[in-house]
Symmetry: none
Subunit: 138 residues, 4 copies
C-alpha cells in the first residue's frame, strides 16, 4: 500500500484560508488535512447506499417530564435492539436529557430508526451522525 | 488572485476511492473536487457563535493497534475533562473502536477539542455534532 | 513514598489456594495480589462513612414493557442528576434493559439513591458497586 | 498443616492505612487480617456456576498517566470484544479514570476477563458485578 503524490492547484485566497484551518486543527501538513477531509466525504457516500453496513450515532435532546415519552423512546429502541448497540443518557439538568445511541447496520435501516425517534412528539432536537465501521478506511 | 500549486501525498487505496468519487460527481479533475470539498468545510465551520453554551457529541473511529493512540486520546480527553461529560466506547471488532464523547460548554471550545482529537494521527474518522442543552428549545 | 517489607504467616492449605488465585488472575507475585485485595477492603471502608466522597455504579435490570417504568426511573434519576454522572443503557433483547449509572458523591446519599431505584416496582435486579474517586488510592 | 511465612512489599502510604484498619477491626496482627481477607475473596469466587449465561459490569479505576496503560486496557478489551458490549469512560479529574464495561456471556469467561483487567499493573481498583440477562427473572 504505497504512497502516491499528485499536484493540486488552488486560488491563493482559498489556499490562505485552508492553511489557517490546517494550522488551527493542528495537522502536520496539508496532505494530512486533505486525506481526513476526503475520508469524511467517502463516509458520507457510504451512507448514500441503502445497503452498506455503516455505524453512527443518533443524538436526542428531550424533556423527560413529557408524559410517557421515556417509555415510548425506550420501547422504540428495543424494537430495534439489534441495530442499537448501546445508549448513553446524560441528565443535563432537572428537565433535559441528552441521549446518544450508537447504531450499526444497513444505512437505510439506520436512517429510518433515526427519523422515527427524532420525529417523536416531545423530542426537542435530534441528529443522525454518519460514521463508518472503520473497515474500509485506511 | 493567482493560482498556486502544491503536492499532496495519499495512500493508493484512498486515492483510488477518491478518483472514483471525482468521476462519479463529474469533476474535471482532482483539484476541482478538493477545492469544492474544502469550501464546504470552511462554510460549515462558520455557522456557530463561539460563545454560546451548547451540548454535543464527538464521534471518533480509530484502530487501537496504532501504538500509543489510546494513551494519547485518553490524555487529551482528561486535559478537557470539565467539558467532556462521559465517553462511550464500542469495540466494533478486533481492530476498530468507535468512541462517542458527550461534551458540554462554549461552542468555540468544543470545536477546538474536537478538531484536536480528530486531527490526531491514526484517527480514521471523526465528527463533531452540536446540539443544544435543551434550555432554549421548547 | 518508599516501599516497606513485612512478613506474613499463613497455613499451607490457605497459601496453596491463594497461590492458585495469584496465578489465575495473572498477578506478577503475592505482594501485588495482596495490595490489590487490601485496596479493595479500604474502598469498602470509605463507603462505611456516610460523608466520604466516593464513586460507584448502580446496575439495574428491568423490563421496559412495564407501564410507566422507564418514565419513573428517568424522573428519579433526574432528581439526582448532580450525583448521577451518566447512564448507559443496553437493550439486552426485546424485553430486558440493563442500565448502568455512574454515580459520584457522598456515600450515604449514593446508597439512598441506589436503594430507591432498586426498590422500584418492576426492577428485576439491582446492585450498587462500590469504588472510589481514585484520589486516595496509590 | 504447618504455617508458612513469606514477605510482602507495600507502599508506606498504603501500609499506613492498612495498619489503621487492622487496629480498628481488632486483629492481633497483619497476618491475621490478611488471612481473613484472602478467605473472603476465595469464598466470593465460588458462588457462580461457570457455564451460566449472565450479564454484568466490570468497573475499573486507574490513572491514565501510567505509561501505556490506556493502550493495554484497550487492547485487552478488544481481544474480548464479543463479550464486552460497551464501555463507558468517566474522566473523574486530571488523573483518574472510571471505566465501566458492560459484559455478557458465560460467568466463567466474564470472571477471567475481569480478573485479567483488574490485575493489570496500574489499575487502582476493580470490581466485577454480576447480574442476570433478565430472562430468568420475573
Amino acid at each position: 500500500m504505497g504512497l502516491q503524490r499528485f499536484g493540486v492547484s488552488m486560488e491563493s485566497s482559498l489556499l490562505e484560508r485552508f492553511d489557517a484551518l490546517v494550522r488551527e486543527r493542528g495537522y502536520a501538513n496539508r496532505s494530512e488535512a486533505i486525506r481526513d477531509i476526503i475520508r469524511d466525504v467517502l463516509v458520507e457516500r457510504q451512507w448514500e447506499d441503502e445497503g452498506t453496513e455503516v455505524a453512527g450515532t443518533i443524538t436526542l435532546v428531550y424533556d423527560h417530564h413529557v408524559n410517557g415519552l421515556s417509555d415510548l423512546l425506550n420501547d422504540l429502541q428495543h424494537e430495534h435492539y439489534r441495530s442499537i448497540l448501546s445508549t448513553m443518557h446524560i441528565h443535563l439538568d432537572e428537565h433535559n436529557c441528552l441521549e446518544v445511541l450508537v447504531v450499526k447496520g444497513r444505512a437505510g435501516e439506520l436512517r429510518r430508526i433515526a427519523e422515527r425517534l427524532i420525529a417523536t412528539r416531545g423530542v426537542k432536537h435530534g441528529k443522525l451522525t454518519l460514521t463508518s465501521t472503520g473497515k474500509d478506511l485506511r
